[in-house]
Each structure stands twice: as structure tokens, then as C-alpha cells.
Amino acid sequence: MKRIKTSILGAFFAVIALLCNTYPLLAQAEDQFIAIPSFRVGPYGQNGQAFYGGFIDYLSYVNIKDGGVNGVKFSWEECETEYNNAKGVECYERLKGKSGISKGTAIHVMSTGISYSILDKTQADKVPLIMMGYGRTDAVDGSVFPYAFPLVTTYQMQASAIVKFLSQKNGGSLAGKKIVYLYHDSAYGKEPIVALEAESKINHFKLTEIPVAHPGNEQGAQWLKIREENPDYVIFWGWGVMNQTALKAAQKVGFPRDKIIGSWWAGSEEDVIPAGDAAKGYMSATWNVSGKSVPVIADIEKVVYGAGKGNFSDKAKIGTVLYNRGVSAAIVTVEATRLAQNKYGKGKPVTGEQMRWAFENLNITDAQLKSLGATGLLPEIKTSCENHEGSGKIKIQQWDGTKWVVISDWIEGNKALIHPLFKASARDYAKEKNITPACLKN
């Protein structure tokens, strides 16, 4: 027993010593290395698996079909963060050293907490942090946050767009209506409150905020309260188990699910299928459609899985909302790489700073999306230094029992109302940190 003890301990420390010598492992010099701090286990593991599966599948697709971007293939490495902030930092530090050139190219962490933790580090290391649909929302102001990009839309813009949708549903006005905001009691859930309160003043509806304690697997009291309030709509900002529980709890008290509209992190198959019948009629926001009718998704299945290089061993997740979202994130990254190469030299890997310029000057049009076969996966995105968000548009989809069906066109949040809030918050941050706001030129 003692021998086993000593030998295991010895092996353990030997490998640690090995670690010292094998870092940094250099990627192939001609590859565009993308660092992927991902999560595939834990309470949100399912969502992570779908998203990152889609992300990686699209990168394989570009490698196989086009041989990369102008001949530069993508390489990547994943690191399990378990959705934990400290582990996310460790993963980021470990992966960024794997390629001297790109430093990771563009970091997608799919977690607001982790993105906050590595925001300062990515800025110091000069590699763009892409927070598509989550993260630090005042990073919209690129003069204070040159390396952070809350692309497509932020929580506040999303909330504002949902209000606009509801208003459209009611003949253009929400005056006198009651809306309950049921949210996960965390940074994620609290972010849109400011925007919703502003919207409620302009649109003259009564807003009631009801928090749900983490993890949200017990919501009986909240839904009894909601039934008591009898609102016209419930705007739902849940994540993980809170989503199914909410739908089932709504069924339990008899609240119609077609009056509930959730955020885009509460609107995927992983959320509604476990709720069974309770989920029928539930709506959520999204920027990408689901399904394999999108040409590029069908093509990925044919090309990547045909060649046996798919990320999933079981193809059931292809075409789900989060899978397509992962593909959309990869599309943005690849197109930014292409843009950077066009400016700084084709045929060689781009650096983090060059990617930053590309992300700040993105102009993805509907025509471009169509040529990629990705219509429906992204809205048009046009970024600039003042607007790292680039779009602000969402669509609304509804679960019909078997699939998500898009029931609206692109809806843009109230930019005039929301963006000044971001600017004010960014200015406060700049004052706290003694930064002089300035747009980078390169």
C-alpha cells in the first residue's frame, strides 16, 4: 500500500515537472489557433455541449470545404471551465500561450461570470473577448473597452426589443398593462432591470420584479404570486434548470404559457423538451433560427459528419437552437479573420490586435450571409468604435411542441434609450480605472 502511495505521488509530481517543460506547446506556425474555454459538464453542460459542438463543427467545415481562410487552416483547443470563474481564468491563461501569434484569436466563453474575470486580462494581452449575447454590456463603448465585444445584442437591448414585440402584439401600446419580470437572482438576471424600468416609464405599463434564488428548481411561491398578480405577460430571464421548472410551475398554477416570453438563454430545446407538454406555446427571443433547413447547417452535416470529423458522436443535437448559435459565433469569428487578412495580408495567421480591428469594423450584410448559406443565423452586423454591439436586433420564436417556429421579423431594441445607459456606465468605469476613453486607430 505504501509503495502504491509513493509511486502515485511520485508520478503526480513528475508530471507536474513535465508540465514546466512542455509549455508553451507551439501550434503549427501556419495555423490560426483559436482558444476555446468551454464547459461541457455541470448544470449547464448540455447547453455548452450544443453551443461548442456547433462552433467547432463550423471551424472543421471551413477547414475541409475551403481549406481554411485563404489557405490558413483553423486549429483549436478546448479547456473545461465547468462554468467556474477561477477555472475559466486558468483555462484562458493556459490556452493563450499555445500560439505566439494569435494568442487565441477570439475568446468565446459563454459565461458572463468568466467574461468579467478575464476582461482585464484579454485587454492587457491584446486579444478580443467576444461576448455574443452575454457579458459586460457597457463594453458597447469601444473607447473604454477596445478589446471587448458584446456582439449582436446585449441583455438590455434584448429586453427592450421584447417589450417592443409585446407592444406590437397589443396594437402598438402597452399602456395600463401588467408585466411581471421573473428573473434568476444573479448578475445575468439583474442586468436588464434598468432597461425594463426605463421602458415601463415610457410605455406606461406596470412592472413587477420577482427574483428566483439560484438554482431555481423550486418556484412554487413565485408562480402563486404571479397567478395572484395576474399579469398580461411574464418576461422570463432564466438559465439552466430554472427554465423547465418555470414552465412546469406555470402549468401547475394554470398560467398560460403563451403569455410567457423568455430571453435567448431560456429558449433552447434543452429547456423545453424536459418540460414536456408544459412548454407548448412558450415564446423566447433568439437571433438564429433552429433546424437544418438553413443551408450551411445541412452542409455541415453532409461535409463534416460525412468525413467523420463531427464533434458529436450522436447527431441529435445538429440543428438545435444552441448548436446553430455556436455555428453563428464561429461564422462571425471566421468572417472577422477573413476581414483581418484582407487588410493585413492574406495567407498568414492574424494577430489578436489585427482581429480587434476586424471586430471593430465588421460589416456582415444579408447578401454575405446568403452567400455563406447562413441566412437566418445572424442579423446584419455593423460595428464601430462607438458601437461594439453591431446590431441590437432579435427575433421571437415559439415552441409548438416539437420545434421552434419563428413568429416575428427582426425587432430592434430602443437604441436611443438604451445606448446612453451603456455610455454612462462605461464612463464611470473609465473614471474608476483612470482610463482616458479613446478609440484605437490601427
Partner: protein, 358 residues
């Protein structure tokens, strides 16, 4: 052969009761400090500094705090992450609201705030013992995190409850490079560890151990129970508070209340148990083990899967990590219940005899 104490005579009480009575120990410690202060900044990569050494030191400090409470005083506590959170947020608020305050003072004030909260949640320990107390400290864990999320004042009215640590500077020198942060954390942790070692050897430490072993008997011989237990909670929370402040300022940069969740409390408890209850060195060993093990698994599992050509999907790798982590904890508890510190002690004893077997 090398580790003999023959010939080392002590002629004063003072030299007899020093922390490292054997000359070789003192040389070893000096070498270690030399490597840590000079060698590491010169040779360590940024990854090692940022992602391994700084969190190692910070977690050792938190484990040290918990060890005082659980290891020396015998009060099982599952709320250490909450005290870290109090320390982090209190330091942030002192730094923010008092113009020009030196950051060392805000750290100390943050630690004192954590100590105050610790005393508050330590009051039940006067009536409750054992596992009941452990579950009561869970109340502290959840309540503190809820408070920090709920009251926007703590996070300077940010909409999300996240605080961004200010840059630390002393006489114009800013601690913003990995090396400077590492050295700052090293100095603070080494200082507090020395303080802690002396505390454990003092009458306070002995009172704690008496309370741990049998508190009724301790009371009978005149040890004031309330004062001793509350002192344990206070000092433990102070250390955890400073660790939390360092966690926010020198490691992550931005923290949210949810980042100080029950998982972190369990992690620190693991470090204490695996490192060795009631030992100062054990905290460092335990922190190293718990910190390095997931990284070790992260690297070795894909390597093994490539070696044996087993197509293990990524999610399975992560699940296997969890399994291995759990079984290693159990393995350690079975094989060496007194922790890594005991293994080190056995090694030293063997070294004294080496190369002879007995």
C-alpha cells in the same frame, strides 16, 4: 546522513522554542524563500504566475484560515467562501469610498469586516456542535452571498453586482504586472503564515486544541469557551477575508457574489482535510494538490486517449475528471487520513535515519 541534529545544542529557551530548531530546516526554508522571491519571477512563465502560483498562495491563505477554525478549534465550517466574499467587497468599498487610503489599510479593514461577520455567525457555536454547526455555517454562506447580490450599495450600484478591483499602488508604484502581484501576494501570505504558525503555538492555539478535543473538560480547567470559540471564528474569518481581497485584487480582477459559492467553500475544506487538519504546512500542500489536480487531469486524459487511440468525446473527459477527483479524495482519506502534512512528517523522520532503515 544529511538530516542529523547531532551536534546542534540549544542553550537558551528562546533558541529551543524557535519554529525551525534544526539547522537543515532553516537552510531549507531560506532556500525555498530565495527561490520563491528571486527564482520564480526570473524563470516562471506568465501562465505559471497568473494561473498557478498566485491562486496557490491565495487558496493556501484561505485554507489556513479554515484550518484555524476546523483543524485547531474543531468547529466545522462550510462558509469560508462567504467570508472571502465579505473581505473582497469590504476592501473594495473602503478603497472606493475613502480617498487616498493606502491599500494595505483597506485590506486590513476588509479582513476586520470579515472577522466581524465571522463573529456574528460564530455565535451559534456556543450552543450547537458538530454537523449541526456545519449546516448552520451554510446559512452564513447563502445569506452573505444573497446580501451582497441584493443591496446595490455593496457593488457601488452596478446593475449586475459585479465589482472591478481598482489598481493597487504604493508610493506611486503600481502593482499591475503578474510579477509584482505575485510578490505582493507572496509577502502577505508568508507574513500571515508566520503569524499563524506562532498563533497556533501560543496559548490561544492551545486553548483551541483543548476546545477541539473536549470542550467540557476545557471549560472545567478554566478556558473561557465563548472567548476562545469566537476568537477562532474571528481570526479564521480575518484570514479568509484577506484571502478574498487578494482573490479579487490580484487574481481575478472582477468578482461577483456568485463566484464565492458553496463550491469554493467545499474546495477550501478539501484543501484543509487533504493537506492535514491542524497543520500549517498542510494548507500549502493541500492547496497545491487541489489546484493542480484538475490541470493535471486536463492534460493527462487527452494524452492517454491519444496514446490508446480511444476516441473519448470531450464531455466524457470532463466527467472522468470529476470521477477521478472524487475517487482521489476518497483514496487519500483512506490511505492517509491525517493528510499530506503527515506524509511530509514521515518523510522527514525517514530522512533523519537515512541511509539506515531504523
Amino acid at each position: 546522513m544529511l538530516y542529523r541534529e547531532a551536534g546542534q545544542f540549544k542553550t537558551t529557551y528562546k533558541s529551543d522554542s524557535q519554529i525551525f530548531p534544526i539547522l537543515q530546516d532553516r537552510i531549507g526554508m531560506a532556500l525555498l524563500l530565495l527561490v520563491a522571491v528571486i527564482g520564480v519571477p526570473l524563470f516562471a512563465s506568465e501562465y505559471w504566475l497568473n494561473a498557478i502560483l498566485i491562486p496557490f498562495l491565495i487558496f493556501s491563505l484561505a485554507a489556513l484560515g479554515l484550518n484555524f477554525l476546523t483543524g485547531y478549534a474543531g468547529q466545522l465550517s462550510l462558509g469560508s467562501a462567504a467570508f472571502m466574499a465579505v473581505g473582497a467587497y469590504a476592501t473594495y468599498n473602503f478603497q472606493l469610498r475613502i480617498e487616498g487610503i493606502p491599500f494595505i489599510l483597506s485590506f486590513i479593514l476588509g479582513g476586520l469586516s470579515a472577522a466581524a461577520v465571522g463573529i456574528l455567525f460564530g455565535l451559534p457555536s456556543l450552543r450547537i456542535k458538530g454537523f449541526y454547526l456545519a449546516v448552520a455555517t451554510l446559512a452564513a454562506q447563502f445569506f452573505v452571498v444573497w446580501c451582497l447580490t441584493k443591496f446595490p450599495w455593496f457593488s457601488n450600484n452596478s446593475s449586475s453586482g459585479v465589482i472591478s478591483a481598482q489598481t493597487l499602488s504604493l508610493f506611486g508604484f503600481a502593482f499591475d504586472t503578474p510579477v509584482s502581484k505575485y510578490l505582493l501576494v507572496l509577502v502577505i501570505v508568508a507574513g500571515l503564515a508566520l503569524l499563524g504558525k506562532n498563533l497556533a503555538r501560543s496559548s490561544t492555539g492551545r486553548a483551541w486544541m483543548a476546545v477541539r478535543d473536549m470542550d467540557v473538560a476545557a471549560e472545567v480547567i478554566g478556558i473561557p469557551l465563548m472567548k476562545t470559540k469566537l476568537m477562532a471564528f474571528a481570526i479564521s474569518s480575518f484570514y479568509c477575508g484577506i484571502a478574498g481581497a487578494l482573490y479579487a485584487y490580484c487574481y481575478l480582477g472582477s468578482v461577483e457574489p456568485d463566484g464565492f459559492s458553496l463550491d469554493l467553500s467545499f474546495k477550501i475544506l478539501f484543501m484543509v482535510i487533504i493537506g492535514g487538519v491542524g497543520s500549517i504546512l498542510g494548507n500549502f500542500l493541500g492547496a497545491a494538490f487541489i489546484l493542480l489536480l484538475p490541470i493535471f487531469l486536463d492534460i493527462i486524459l487527452p494524452f492517454i486517449s491519444q496514446l490508446f487511440h480511444l476516441p473519448i468525446p470531450n464531455s466524457v473527459v470532463s466527467h472522468i475528471q470529476l470521477m477521478v477527483f472524487g475517487s482521489l479524495i476518497i483514496f487519500f482519506l483512506i490511505v492517509e487520513p491525517h493528510g499530506l502534512a503527515r506524509l511530509w512528517q514521515i518523510t522527514k523522520e525517514k530522512l533523519r535515519l537515512w541511509p539506515f532503515p531504523h
